[in-house]
Structure formats: structure tokens, C-alpha cells
């Protein structure tokens, strides 16, 4: 079962990429297999059975998958959303010529995401974590011929990879202390290592879950196809950050929890404001995603990871159906700008109803899913020791949720209706199931808490009243008042994504590039200095050789002359013959010397070639040497 959760989508992906035929059918088969396996895991886990497999990877560090109640729940969530989004995609991507690549990459993503949620050790988690980033890069960049798409994909990968350094180092700290890579063992870490690791993991989570100040990539990621936004950038990939913190919650000490809660609270407000100022429906939903994950981090920081998990599940169903609805409107109007989409909802009342139900679910109207989870978060914030910080931020985040959803609904409903649209059965089905889940999931939360062994106390009347009041007032504000008036002076910075000092580009990218060019400039100097050094050495040697050669030449000339004199002095009768012989010798020596000079004064490389041949000869002699010893 456990293996099939991954193998189903993986084998389907490989089949699609190698066969390049019937990608839709294969994709749906793979997703269905994965779903059935995940359902089986969930059923088994609800009986309290934990299964695991371990495969050899590094010596002493095998890779492990574990289906515990928590991981099996997440696995089922991923499989469900993936299956619905893929059904929707068969309609959405119908006319795309590169469907095989699309489905192949989507299924690779699903495999990696399942590995992430089921991981039982840090290596598997890290590997899956980076793989989902890679799949996200490929999917955001799917239409890489279009303007701005490649930049968005590159940015998404680099943002998250920078934050991933936190996961790498955090995992190294934990493995080093525990001596094993099993997450269940490292969760018992305490003291300073736990605090350091907790803060490092928070950095990683901030990157993946698009928390301030690393939120910008998520809005740009909307350059990908809408099913990608629905699956990756709302329900799964972005969830990885929150999942990481939920999994490691048992070891997080107070200091780390406070940091997590505050980061989450600030994100909930800041990205909520950004969402309200957005002029594009998909980007609005993306900013809202970051904001909702901020609320989950508030819950984790308040010491209620189960509340965060419930909101994660509710949000997954809600946000994916909102994106799928947005995709239908995008299909109709060929764009996602709010101006373009004005009135698009009334032209498709069915889809709009689904969109509105889930929007209201996100705002937290009873009895829909987020009503329960949001109340749990507010209750946790209220009960936490950091309540003075967390509660206002959580409430402000909830008001903003109401406001931007109210605005989106208003825009889609008011405006020109336009011609009626053709039905889109696959898209409607995929979306419909998710809407039903978004509306009804809340009733299963009690059972889920029981299964996880962490039942949340039912709050009294004050928390639901507070939650409902902020949600509804936000909704009213967003529906009736234009964001320009609502935001006032905050509008311009919100539209700008609250980029401080040029945002990440100014803070990281430009410094990195200037270090790179400084290295390049230094490199040129270094090279010049070294060439100078070597040339000095080479020329020095050549000069020495030249002088030695000159001396040798003079010496041989002198020998010749001396022998000549000797010959004359001895007064041989047959002088001519001897003279001729000696003069001939001298002449040959002179000629040889000149030849040697020519060889040496030429290009240095020729000398080197000769040196090389000389070396080779010496080596040959060395090899032959044994025969003479």
C-alpha cells in the first residue's frame, strides 16, 4: 500500500513520458491507483496501525516511509486533491499540444509530494522537498515560450532553494545530535540544538509556504497553468512548509514557537492586504494562500499544531476549488484580470455558486470546513502565552480574508454578463467534488482529531462569535467598499507587494551578482599575476639556458682552436689532411650550435614540446632501466 501510493503516480508518469500516447487516461489511472492506496493507508492508520518501509540509501542512513495517522491523513489529502485536479485538467489542457509533458510532470510532482508527507527520515523529506521544488519549476515554466514565464519559474526555484538552506542545516543539526536521521527520534531533541534547528526549519518553511518576506514568488508562480496553481500553489507544495513545522512540533521550544507565530501573524496581515489590492484573480488567490498559511503558522506558534492541520486540510479543498473556478472563468474570458472577469460569474451561475460556497467557507461561515478550523486557530491564539501578539494578528487576518473574498465575489457577480458559455463537464466535476469537500469536511474533523489522538476542546460561544463577526464584517467591507478607499495610503505599497529596499532583488540578487563580478575581476588580476610569475620563471630559465649554451659554444670553439693550435704545433707533415679534418669538426660544431640556438630562441611552446619529449624519453629509460640493473 505504502509503496503503491508513490509507485502509482510514478509509473504512470514514466509511462506517459516514454509512450507519449493517451496521457489523460494514463494520468487518471496513476492518480486513481495513488488515491486507492492512500485511502487504504488511511483506513489502516485509523485503526491505529503504523506501517513503514526502509530502503538502503547511505550507509547508516536508510530512507524510510511511514504511514502514521498524521502522515496517512496528509497522504489521502494529497491523493484526493491531485485526482480531482487531474480530472479537471483533462478539460482545461484539452487543446495543449504538449499534454504528455504536462501530465508527466504533474504525476512526478504527486510522487514527490507523497514521499514528502510519508517521509520517516530527514533524507527522504529533504529529497522530496527539493523534488517538489524542481517539479514546480518545470510546471510554472510549462509555457516557457511566453513572456515572463521563465523568470517566474526561475524565481520560484531560487527563492525556495535559498530558504532550503535552513532545512539542510536544520536537518544536519538534528542528525548530528541524534546520530540517526529518523524524524521520530530527532523529535526528542531538546535545549539549544532544538532551538537552533527550529529556527532553521522555520526559514525553510517560510520559503515553501511563501511567508513574509519570501512571499513574492508565489504570486508570480501564477504564470503556470491553472491546474498547477490549484494543486501545487494552494494545496500541496505550499503546504510543505506548514507540514514540516507540524511534523516537528513536538520538539519546538518556546522561542522557536514564538518566532513561528509572529512570522505567521505578520504574513496573514501583510499578504491579506496584498490580496485586497490585487487586480488579478489568480494573484489574489495566491496572496490569500500565503495569508492562510500565515494563520496556520499562528496556530503552530500558539502550540496547537492540530488546529493548523485542520485548517491546512480545509484550505486545501477550499483553495483548490477556488482556483479551479477561476480557471473556468479564465477559460471563458481568456484572462484572469479582475477587469476582464467582471460579470463572468453570472454567465456561469453553477460554477459561480461553487466558487461562492468555497469563498464563504474560507471566510469561516458555519457549518463549512474553515469555520471549525479558524475557530480552533483563534481559540489557540487566545489561549497562548503570546496572545497579545497572536490574537490581534489572527483576527486581522480573518477580517482581511472576508474582505478580499467579498471583493472577488462582487467583481465576478456585478458587471456585463456576456454570452452564455458551453458546459465544461470534466472541469465542473473536478471542481464539484472539491466544493463538496470544502463544505462538508468540517463534520469529519472530530473523528480526525480522535484518530490523531489530539482532540481539541470545543470552545464556548465567545470564540465562534468573534470568528463569525470578523469574517462577516470583512465580507461586508470587501463587497461594498472599493479597495482603494479601504486601503487608503496602504494601496500603493500593497500593490507593490510591500517590497522593502527593492525587495529580494535589491537585498539578495544584486549583491550576489556584484560579488560574482568582483570575483571575475579578481580572477583576471590573479591570472595576470600568475602568468607574470610563470613567465618570469620561464624567461629566467631560458636566459640561464641561453647563457649556458653561449658558454658551451664558446668553449667548444676554444677546444677547436686549441686542437688546431696543437695540430699546428706538432708540425705534422700531412698538415692539410689534419687541418681539413679539424676545421671540418669546428665548422660542424658551429653549425650545430647555431641550430641549437634556433631551437631555443623560438616559441616557448616548442621548447616545452621538446621538454615533454625529453621527459617521455627519460620515462622510457626508467621503464627500460631494470634490464640494465
Amino acid at each position: 500500500m505504502l509503496a503503491l501510493t508513490l509507485l502509482g503516480p510514478l509509473l504512470a508518469a514514466l509511462a506517459i513520458l516514454s509512450l507519449r500516447r493517451a496521457p489523460e487516461t494514463l494520468a487518471l489511472i496513476g492518480a486513481a491507483l495513488g488515491f486507492v492506496a492512500a485511502l487504504g493507508l488511511f483506513v489502516a492508520a485509523s485503526d491505529g496501525v503504523t506501517v513503514g518501509i526502509a530502503l538502503p540509501f547511505l550507509p547508516d542512513f536508510p530512507i524510510r516511509l511511514i504511514a502514521s495517522p498524521l502522515t496517512a491523513t496528509l497522504s489521502l489529502l494529497v491523493a484526493t486533491v491531485a485526482a480531482m485536479v487531474l480530472i479537471y485538467a483533462t478539460g482545461y489542457m484539452r487543446k495543449d499540444p504538449e499534454r504528455a509533458r504536462f501530465y508527466g510532470t504533474m504525476l512526478l510532482f504527486v510522487t514527490a509530494m507523497q514521499a514528502l508527507v510519508l517521509s520517516g527520515d530527514w533524507i527522504t523529506l529533504l529529497a522530496a522537498w527539493e523534488m517538489i521544488g524542481f517539479a514546480s519549476y518545470l510546471l510554472i515554466g510549462f509555457w516557457h515560450g511566453r513572456a515572463g514565464v521563465v523568470g517566474a519559474a526561475t524565481r520560484a526555484f531560487l527563492y525556495t532553494r535559498t530558504a532550503d538552506l535552513g532545512l539542510y542545516t536544520g536537518a544536519f543539526v538534528l542528525i548530528g545530535v541524534a546520530g540517526t536521521s529518523e524524524i521520530s527520534v530527532t523529535n526528542a531533541t531538546t535545549g539549544t540544538p532544538a532551538l537552533i534547528a527550529g529556527l532553521l526549519l522555520l526559514i525553510a518553511a517560510m520559503g515553501k509556504s511563501a511567508q513574509v518576506p519570501l512571499q513574492d514568488w508565489l504570486m508570480r508562480a501564477m504564470a503556470g497553468p491553472t491546474p498547477v496553481s490549484a494543486l501545487l500553489h494552494s494545496a500541496t507544495l505550499v503546504a510543505a512548509g506548514a507540514i514540516l513545522l507540524i511534523r516537528t512540533a513536538p520538539m519546538l521550544p518556546g522561542g522557536a514557537l514564538l518566532a513561528i507565530g509572529i512570522v505567521g501573524g505578520i504574513t496573514a496581515v501583510v499578504t491579506g492586504l496584498i490580496a485586497l489590492a490585487e487586480r488579478d484573480l489568480k494573484r489574489l488567490l495566491a496572496a490569500s494562500t500565503a495569508s492562510q498559511y500565515g494563520l496556520m503558522l499562528v496556530a503552530i506558534g500558539a502550540g496547537a499544531p492540530v488546529a493548523a492541520l485542520l485548517h491546512l486540510i480545509a484550505h486545501a479543498a477550499i483553495k483548490s476549488s477556488l482556483f479551479l473556478g477561476a480557471g473556468v472563468f479564465q477559460h471563458d474570458r481568456e484572462g484572469t484580470g479582475l477587469d476582464t472577469l467582471a460579470g463572468a460569474g453570472r454567465a456561469r451561475p453553477g460554477v459561480f455558486a461553487g466558487f461562492a460556497i468555497t469563498a464563504l467557507a474560507l471566510v469561516g461561515l458555519p457549518p463549512m470546513a474553515a469555520f471549525f478550523s479558524k475557530d480552533a486557530i483563534i481559540a489557540a491564539a487566545l489561549g497562548s502565552t503570546a496572545a497579545p501578539w497572536l490574537l490581534p494578528l489572527a483576527l486581522a487576518g480573518s477580517v482581511l480574508t472576508g474582505a478580499y473574498m467579498g471583493r472577488a465575489l462582487n467583481v465576478l457577480w456585478a458587471g456585463e454578463v456576456g454570452p452564455p458559455q458551453k458546459p465544461v463537464p470534466f472541469m465542473t466535476f473536478g471542481m464539484g467534488v472539491l466544493v463538496a469537500l470544502a463544505a462538508g469536511l468540517g463534520f469529519g474533523f472530530g473523528a480526525l482529531e480522535h484518530m490523531l489522538g489530539a482532540e481539541i476542546e470545543k470552545p464556548g460561544w465567545i470564540v465562534p462569535a468573534m470568528g463569525l463577526a470578523v469574517g462577516l464584517s470583512g465580507l461586508a467591507l470587501g463587497w461594498f467598499i472599493a479597495p482603494a478607499r479601504l486601503l487608503g495610503p496602504l494601496l500603493a505599497p500593497a500593490r507593490n507587494g510591500f517590497a522593502v529596499a527593492g525587495g529580494m532583488d535589491g537585498l539578495i540578487l544584486r549583491p550576489v551578482l556584484s560579488i560574482a563580478s568582483a570575483c571575475e575581476a579578481f580572477e583576471k588580476r590573479l591570472l595576470a599575476a600568475q602568468i607574470g610569475l610563470i613567465r618570469g620563471f620561464g624567461l629566467g630559465t631560458a636566459h640561464l639556458v641561453d647563457r649556458a649554451d653561449g658558454a658551451l659554444f664558446a668553449f667548444s670553439l676554444w677546444i677547436g682552436q686549441q686542437s688546431l693550435r696543437l695540430g699546428r704545433a706538432t708540425g705534422f707533415t700531412d698538415t692539410n689532411g689534419i687541418d681539413a679534418a679539424i676545421f671540418g669538426l669546428v665548422r660542424r660544431m658551429v653549425a650545430a650550435g647555431a641550430q641549437a640556438r634556433r631551437l631555443q630562441s623560438g616559441f616557448i611552446h616548442r621548447e616545452l614540446a621538446l621538454t615533454a619529449i625529453g621527459t617521455a624519453l627519460i620515462m622510457a629509460m626508467l621503464l627500460i632501466a631494470p634490464y640494465y640493473f
Binding site: 614540446a609 615533454a612 631494470p626
Partner: protein
């Protein structure tokens, strides 16, 4: 059967046979090259199947050479050398296939390649100090002629620089070897390893000499400058051999000589070596980011990747925890193999791109993925492997190196910043060359042909295999590293 000797000398015998043949057409020459390197590859597979021993060297072949000075012809293997030997024979075989298209003085080219293979295999398997040095130097000569004879525009200058640099660089090693010989009376490397003959100042001086030689070869900052120059001018197969095999002489020597023969001195100098490794890794990454020539860029990433190997070895020398020590050495050794596979693939791919477009400037391309999908996806896969994506070859190696580093010398973990910089530079290159708007100039560029597929696909498969299930390779390495006592 003395398979080690056979594998070492089969290539050069093939080369000599080629020189003796009356018909030396290009076809015959390349045929000889492919057959010889292919046979050597098969022999190394048999050597692999014969296995290694848990500690010390296996499959030893020994013949008296110069008994008067205690030098013998000694070959043998442990996990470190066996994995490098397999990499070497594979890369030479693939290079021979890739080079089958070269028509410029093909017989000389083939003889040089075969001579290089003999030198490379000999370097990794030699168990005699003198023999090691001979093979180490012969490889220099071979590569010099390779670059000077078959390189690109400024090949003479680059070849000269390569030769001078590495030749001068290797002289200190000779001094160290003589020092080891004088204090032990033998050239047997096993004796040097079992009972390191030098102590105190002498050991430190020998270590400094060796470190200088190997730093040039690896290459580590600041003596890395010859590498980009040589790579840019070298012919494709030359680049593959240079990066894939010859740089490993440096890291192999770092472990085999510096770490194993002067262990105490290495532990004392560990922080300094570590610092050079960290600077190399970071500097290589940043310098690569500044490049616009693809080949130069990959050359600098080699400085970065080999920097991780230096870090791993230095951490092993510094660590007092035996488990961490083995993790560091496993990682460093695996990194050598991964770098050979991945950078080999990248240089082949850039060579294929250059064969088609006659340029390597990043900005001359654009949107190539549409016209050459195989080449493009192969490059994307290799690039992601090189930037350390899990599931591909560099991840297990770098994971182990960094894990050991953080738990031994926490400051050195700053080197991990380089993985973000390499990610940035590869994504930028992919975006500029293969994605984005299509440059109509290359609309008709042909995709990989059969010969090119034959070269690139095995490397990609191995890249994935090492990344997904490294144990088949890591087990050999781990066996040896777990038994090292230094």
C-alpha cells in the same frame, strides 16, 4: 590473469599497434580506439566483480623494477581507487565513441587518448611512489599535446599554461616522494601508509609540498586559474577527460598521499586545508555565475565541486568522531565520481552544442528546447544534477560532506551557500539557452544523433542511479573508508 596490468597497458599497446599498422585511415584509428577502450572497460568490470578486501589493497600485482632502490612495478586496488578506475574506463570509452567524428590527424589523436588512459589508470592503481609519479607526469604530456593539437582558437597558449602550471606544480610532489623514500628505504606506498615514515617538521614539509601539487591539480583557489583557460581551448573529449578523470588525480592524491601518509600533519593543518576548500567552493560558484561562455562556466563549477571534496577530506582529518570521519570520506569520494559523471555529461553536451552552432556564448542561443528536445532535456537533467538536486548523483555526496562539516567545523557550513549560487547560474543558463523565445537562427538545428545518444544516455542513467540508489557504489567506497586508520 594480471588484469590490472593488462587494463593499464592495453590502451597504449593499442596505440602502438595503430602506429605500426600500414593502413592508418581515420576509420581504423577510431575503430582501434573504441575497441581498446571498450575492452579496458570490460576488464575493469571484471576487476570490479573480483572485489576488494575490507582493509588494505586487493588484487595486487607486483614485478621487480629497480630493485637497487626498492622501486617495483606494483599495482593494487581499494575502494577509492576501484571506483575511480571504473569512472576512468567508462569516460575514456565514451570519449572514444564521441571522438569518432574527428578527422584531423585522427591516428595521432587516438594514440594520445590511449596513452592518457594508460597514464590515468596507472595513476589510480599504482602502489609504488615512483611509478605513481611517472604515470602522473605522463598524463600531463598527453594532455598538453591534446590541447595544443586539437583545441580551439588559442590552444597553444592554453596548452602552454596548462603544462607549465601543472608541471611546476608537480615538482614539490617529487620532493615529498623522495623524502618518504629516504626515510623508509622503499617506494612501496603500502609501507608508507601502514607506518607513516615521516614525523614532525619533516612530515609537515612533505605535506605542504604534496598539498601544493594536489591543490594545483584539483584545482583549488588560488591556483585554479589554469583550469578555465585549458577547458575553454581543449577539444570536447579533452575537457571530459580533464574534468572527469585528471582533476581526480588531485583529490585522489589528497586522500592517498596527504591524508594517509602524513596523517598527523594533516590533522594539524586541517583547518587551513578546510579554509582553502571553503574558499574554493564559494569562489568557484561566484566566478561561474559571472561567466557567459558555457564551457568556462562549467569549468568554474568544477572548482566549486572539487572544493566540496577538499572540505570533506579536511573534515575527515579534523574530526575525532569515527562515524563522522567515515561519512566525510564517503561523501568526498562519491563526490569525485558524481562530478566525473555529471561534468562529463555537461562537457559532452556543450561540445555537441558547439559542433552545431560554433559558439558557446549563452546569449547567442534561446528557446533551443523546441528544436533539440533531447539535447535540451539532457542538459537540464545534468544541470540539475550538478546543482545538487536530490535523486541525482551529487546529492548523496554533498549531503554527506555537509552533514560531516556541520558536525565537525560548524563555521565551514557557509560553503553551503554555494548550492544556491550554482542553482542560480544553471537556471540562468537553462533559461537563456533552452527556454524562452526561440531564436530562429537555430530553428533547423538537428537533435542528438545515434552516436551522441550512445555517449550521453549511459551518463544520464548512471547519474540517476547514483542519485536514487547510491548504495551499489557507496558500498565499495564505504568498505575502504570505514577501515582507514589514520
Amino acid at each position: 590473469m594480471p588484469l590490472l596490468t593488462l587494463a593499464t597497458f592495453l590502451p597504449i599497446l593499442g596505440g602502438l599497434a595503430l602506429m605500426a599498422l600500414p593502413n592508418r585511415s581515420d576509420r581504423v584509428a577510431h575503430g582501434m580506439s573504441i575497441v581498446a577502450t571498450g575492452l579496458v572497460f570490460l576488464i575493469t568490470l571484471v576487476i570490479w566483480s573480483r572485489g576488494i578486501v575490507p582493509s588494505g589493497f586487493a588484487q595486487i600485482e607486483e614485478i621487480a623494477w629497480i630493485p637497487a632502490i626498492g622501486a617495483s612495478f606494483r599495482l593494487g586496488l581499494d575502494g577509492l581507487s576501484l571506483s575511480l578506475v571504473l569512472l576512468t574506463s567508462l569516460l575514456f570509452f565514451l570519449s572514444a565513441i564521441y571522438s569518432a567524428r574527428i578527422s584531423e590527424r585522427a591516428p595521432s589523436y587516438v594514440v594520445l587518448m590511449l596513452m592518457l588512459e594508460t597514464a590515468a589508470l596507472g595513476t589510480f592503481m599504482a602502489l609504488d611512489g615512483l611509478l605513481f609519479y611517472v604515470f602522473f607526469e605522463v598524463s600531463l604530456v598527453g594532455m598538453y599535446f591534446m590541447i595544443a593539437g586539437w583545441g580551439y582558437e588559442e590552444r597553444q597558449r592554453a596548452a602552454l599554461m596548462f603544462f607549465l602550471y601543472t608541471f611546476l606544480g608537480s615538482l614539490p610532489l617529487l620532493l615529498a616522494i623522495i623524502g618518504l623514500y629516504l626515510s623508509s628505504g622503499t617506494f612501496d606506498m603500502r609501507a608508507w601508509i601502514d607506518a607513516p615514515p615521516l614525523t614532525g617538521l619533516a612530515a609537515m614539509l612533505a605535506l605542504i609540498a604534496m598539498l601544493f601539487t594536489f591543490a594545483v591539480k584539483i584545482p583549488a583557489f588560488p591556483v585554479h586559474t589554469w583550469l578555465p583557460a585549458a577547458h575553454v581551448q581543449a577539444p570536447t573529449a579533452g575537457s571530459v577527460i580533464l574534468a572527469g578523470v585528471m582533476l581526480k588525480f588531485g583529490t585522489y592524491g589528497l586522500v592517498r598521499f596527504a591524508l594517509q601518509m602524513t596523517p598527523e600533519a594533516f590533522a594539524q593543518a586541517g583547518q587551513v586545508v578546510l579554509a582553502f576548500g571553503v574558499v574554493s567552493a564559494l569562489y568557484g560558484a561566484f566566478a561561474a555565475l559571472a561567466q557567459t561562455d558555457l564551457k568556462r562556466m562549467i569549468a568554474y563549477t568544477s572548482v566549486n565541486h572539487m572544493g566540496y571534496v577538499v572540505i570533506g577530506v579536511a573534515v575527515a582529518a579534523l574530526s575525532v568522531d569515527p562515524q563522522i570521519r567515515v561519512i566525510a570520506l564517503d561523501g568526498a569520494t562519491l563526490q569525485m565520481i558524481s562530478h566525473g559523471l555529471v561534468t562529463g555529461a555537461l562537457f559532452f553536451l556543450i561540445g555537441m552544442l558547439q559542433d552545431r552552432a560554433h559558439t558557446r556564448e549563452v546569449c547567442d542561443f534561446g528557446g533551443l528546447l523546441g528544436s533539440v528536445p533531447w539535447l535540451g532535456w539532457a542538459f537540464i537533467l545534468s544541470a540539475f544534477a550538478s546543482l545538487g538536486l536530490p535523486g541525482l548523483a551529487h546529492f548523496p555526496a554533498e549531503f554527506q560532506v555537509f552533514l560531516a562539516t556541520l558536525n565537525t567545523a560548524p563555521w565551514a557550513i557557509v560553503a553551503i551557500l554555494a548550492i544556491v549560487v550554482t542553482a542560480g547560474l544553471y537556471l540562468r543558463a537553462i533559461a537563456a539557452v533552452f527556454l524562452g523565445e526561440r531564436n530562429e537562427k537555430w530553428a533547423l538545428m538537428p537533435d542528438l544523433d545515434r552516436r551522441e545518444m550512445l555517449v550521453i544516455v549511459p551518463l544520464l542513467i548512471l547519474t540517476i542511479l547514483v542519485g536514487v540508489a547510491p548504495s551499489w557504489l557507496l558500498n565499495i567506497i564505504h568498505t575502504t573508508m570505514a577501515s582507514l586508520s589514520f
